[in-house]
């Protein structure tokens, strides 16, 4: 039996993810939207922690919350004036969006549920089996099977490109 605590944590986390997601896309104040996104991201990080991926959770908070959301906030401040409300959505557009989202949900949920073998309880793992920092570090730079040296190098090139691209685009004449 799970502890009641973990159940409660799960419920809270799951609910917060969902609620904040909804809020993030429906609120009319763009800055709030960014804030709700932040909470949703925190919720995700909480899930990572729950599942035992502390490192990932850390990265999530650092990069997403610390980096991306801040980027958003800056750009929002740059592009919109405080107190601006986005205009109300036309109902047609809303309906279309809803249709798209619900269709997406139906299809994916159906496919997830139809696949019974996916529905598994959380396997118990000893501490040893959960990824440790050193293991992650080793794998990240290993060139063998399940080693991620090449993606690691490749993504550096990608990031470099994005830096160059971002600078070129954003730079004034």
């Amino acid at each position: 039996m799970e502890s009641l605590l973990s159940i409660m944590i799960y419920v809270v986390v799951a609910l917060s993810i969902m609620i904040f997601s909804v809020l993030a896309v429906t609120t009319r104040k763009i800055l709030r939207s960014a804030t709700f996104l932040l909470f949703a991201l925190f919720g995700t990080a909480a899930v990572y922690f729950m599942l035992g991926y502390q490192f990932l959770g850390g990265v999530q908070i650092a990069v997403y919350a610390g980096g991306i959301v801040v980027l958003f906030v800056f750009s929002i401040l740059l592009t919109s004036h405080p107190g601006d409300n986005s205009s109300k959505l036309e109902s047609k557009k809303k309906a279309l969006g809803l249709i798209g989202a619900i269709a997406m949900f139906v299809v994916c949920a159906w496919s997830l549920i139809s696949r019974c073998s996916l529905i598994k309880t959380l396997p118990d793992l000893g501490e040893a089996e959960l990824p440790t920092m050193s293991q992650i570090g080793n794998d990240l730079l290993s060139s063998g099977s399940n080693g991620y040296l090449l993606p690691f190098e490749a993504i550096s090139v990608l990031l470099l490109a994005c830096i160059i691209g971002g600078i070129v685009v954003a730079r004034k004449k």
Binding site: L96, G97, G100, A103, M104, V107, S111
Partner: protein, 670 residues
């Protein structure tokens, strides 16, 4: 006989045609006329020599005294199905030798005559004079090629060629719309008939497995020599073995073949109901009418039937109705044309209808020709009449030409009482009329008598019918004669010359033909021209002869009564039978009927709808494909709204449908 000499008969006119056609415009008018005439003269001499040799050298008669067919040469031209091939050759037999003489004689006369005719009163040549001679030569070539054909396809080839040269000559005055349409009409009507001819040939060749006349009707008796003999001919045997006797739409296949071929003959020989082109063809220069539309080309139909006569015989023996059809068509046409001739104003048209009528006589003669009537007397009579008719009809036409040339009009109303002004023309024309009316001892008497005798022997109905027509013939010819030369004195309009006899180039042929027309009836025809070459001695059937003579004389008497002096009798007669007169005057509305069929039905109800259908339905469909594509292109342009969100929406939906749809299909149907 050497092949080269007869070959020259064909080659000379062809060369003349090419020479005059290509280089004519570099020659003076006079010289091209002289060259043309001389060329034809030489051809005529050679043809005479050839015919003489054939008839009198004795080389072409077998032991039993039968005249044989002689193939001078026969060259493969185009090989077709299996052993079927089109050959070009030169066949001498009684009728082709006869035709050689007729064609070359008349042609020469016409060539000579045209030297005078194709100028105006001041001696200035007409434009296109060289062209005229070139076409005349072309015609002569084609006609000669036709008569000497060794096989039915060669005949068809030259048949078409004479049609074309006839077209060219009728339309000689090409700036005159009536001439143009007349030439077109002539060609198309005969072409329509030729369609039947062609299909007939195809059927016949299927049945007999040959095109060759000799294989169809004769058996070989030596190198190049054949004897007409239907019982042992290859073609006939094959035909009987094949299922030619099978019935198809009410007639045996063989009957159909012969009838279809006869249809070709009907077209060319202007038998009813395909006669309508001939009166119009008079739009051509009068010498042309004399040559083509009186003496030679129009009898090609008769010649065709005569050529295939053995097959008609076989058909008749097998119970087929081909010959009966020939008889009926001929008899109807003869009467029809004779009646119409009584009412025409244009002298050339009268002559044209008279020609139709006379050719119908020949047809009837062939139609009633049976083995039980004096060894196919009708066949001989027909050929005999062909020969005499060619002479006197050419004479009449040339005479009419001289008249027309003198008064510059075709209507007798512009003539009247010319006998004093143009004595030579008058006399020769009278000879012609007497000949055609069948007055003894003019040539027409003998040939017509044979025809009537033949009818007499075969069927009383035909005999009576044809005798009456003969009477009508005499009537309308003398009506014409009187209206031209008598009726009232000729009025000379002021400023005009009085009509007078024409130059020697025109009168000489008249005189020659006049003499011939008197005496050619005395040729011992029955000994020379019979259907199977076996000579037999015909004698004049005096019962028939006297009756017909009486009828003719009575008819001439009536004509004299009515037309010799200006009087009101004709008008009274006219008002007595107004319907009949109107009908006859309008040729019983055949032209109107044809006009209706071709214009209203074929042109307006077939061609135009088809053209419309093509442009709007078929082409419209093709254009519609393009239009639909374009429409579709416009219809879906909303997809590309320019809004990134709608792009994404489409994207999402696409992905979902792609996945979900496939899943649904798989799980629903498999």
């Amino acid at each position: 006989m050497e092949a080269t000499l007869p070959l020259l008969i064909l080659v000379l006119p062809l060369l003349m045609f090419l020479f005059l056609g290509l280089f004519g415009k570099y020659l003076s008018h006079k010289w091209s006329g002289i060259i043309g005439t001389l060329g034809m003269g030489v051809t005529m001499v050679i043809a005479y020599y050839t015919a003489y040799t054939y008839f009198f050298s004795g080389d072409f008669v077998d032991a039993a005294g039968n005249r044989l067919q002689y193939v001078v040469f026969d060259q493969q031209w185009l090989s077709l199905w299996g052993d079927l091939s089109i050959n070009l050759g030169f066949l001498l037999d009684p009728i082709s030798a006869l035709m050689l003489v007729v064609v070359t004689t008349i042609s020469f006369m016409v060539h000579l005559y045209s030297n005078g005719y194709m100028r105006d009163h001041h001696g200035v040549y007409e434009t296109g004079f060289q062209r005229f001679y070139a076409f005349l030569s072309l015609f002569s070539f084609s006609m000669l090629g036709l008569v000497v054909a060794t096989n039915i396809f060669q005949m068809y080839i030259f048949w078409e060629l004479v049609g074309a040269s006839s077209y060219l000559l009728i339309g000689f005055y090409y700036t005159k719309p009536s001439a143009v349409s007349a030439s077109k009409k002539a060609f198309i009507v005969t072409r329509f008939a030729d369609l039947g001819f062609l299909i007939g040939i195809l059927v016949l060749s299927y049945c007999t497995e040959t095109f060759n006349f000799m294989s169809m009707t004769s058996s070989s008796v030596g190198e190049g020599l054949y004897h007409v003999d239907v019982t042992s001919a290859e073609g006939v045997k094959t035909m009987i073995e094949s299922r030619a006797g099978q019935m198809f739409l009410g007639g045996s296949i063989m009957t159909w073949a012969l009838v279809l071929i006869f249809m070709g003959g009907m077209g060319k020989s202007a038998m009813m109901p395909l006669h309508i082109w001939l009166p119009d063809a008079m739009e051509g220069p009068t010498p042309v009418s004399a040559l083509i539309h009186a003496a030679t080309m129009v009898v090609a139909g008769v010649y065709l039937v005569a050529r295939l006569f053995p097959l008609f015989m076989v058909n008749e023996l097998a119970g087929g109705a081909a010959l009966d059809i020939v008889t009926v068509v001929g008899a109807l046409t003869a009467a029809y044309a004779a009646i119409v001739a009584c009412t025409q104003v244009d002298i050339k048209r009268v002559l044209a209808f008279s020609t139709i009528s006379q050719i119908a006589f020949m047809m009837v003669s062939l139609g009633v020709s049976r083995g039980d009537v004096g060894e196919n007397l009708g066949y001989m009579a027909s050929m005999f009449h062909l020969f005499t008719h060619a002479m006197f009809k050419a004479l009449l036409f040339l005479g009419a030409g001289a008249l027309i040339h003198a008064v510059s009009s075709n209507d007798y109303t512009a003539m009247h009482g010319l006998r004093k002004h143009m004595p030579i023309t008058h006399i020769t024309f009278l000879i012609g009329c007497l000949a055609i009316a069948g007055i003894i001892p003019f040539s027409g008497f003998f040939s017509k008598d044979e025809i009537l005798a033949s009818c007499f022997g075969n069927s009383m109905v035909a005999y009576v019918w044809m005798s009456l027509v003969a009477g009508l013939t005499a009537f309308y010819m003398f009506r014409l004669y009187y209206l031209i030369f008598w009726w009232k004195e000729h009025k000379v309009h002021e400023g005009h010359h009085a009509p007078k006899d024409q130059p020697w180039t025109m009168t000489l042929p008249l005189i020659i033909l006049g003499v011939v027309a008197i005496f050619c009836g005395l040729v011992p025809f029955s000994e020379m021209v019979t259907w199977n070459g076996h000579p037999h001695h015909a004698h004049i059937n005096w019962t028939v002869a006297s009756v017909s003579l009486a009828v003719s004389i009575v008819a001439i008497g009536i004509a004299t009564l009515m037309y010799r002096k200006e009087n009101s009798l004709p008008a009274k007669m006219r008002s007595l039978f107004p319907r009949l007169w109107q009908g006859a005057h309008h040729r019983f509305y055949f032209d109107e009927l044809y006009m209706f069929i071709t214009h209203k039905i074929i042109f307006n109800s077939i061609c135009k709808p088809i053209a419309w259908f093509d442009r709007h339905i078929i082409d419209g469909t093709m254009d519609a494909f393009a239009a639909i594509t374009n429409k579709a292109s416009y219809a879906i342009r909303g997809l590309q709204s320019g809004n990134a969100q709608s792009y994404v929406w489409v994207y999402l939906l696409g992905a979902l449908v792609l996945g979900g749809g496939t899943v649904a299909i798989i799980f629903l149907f498999f």
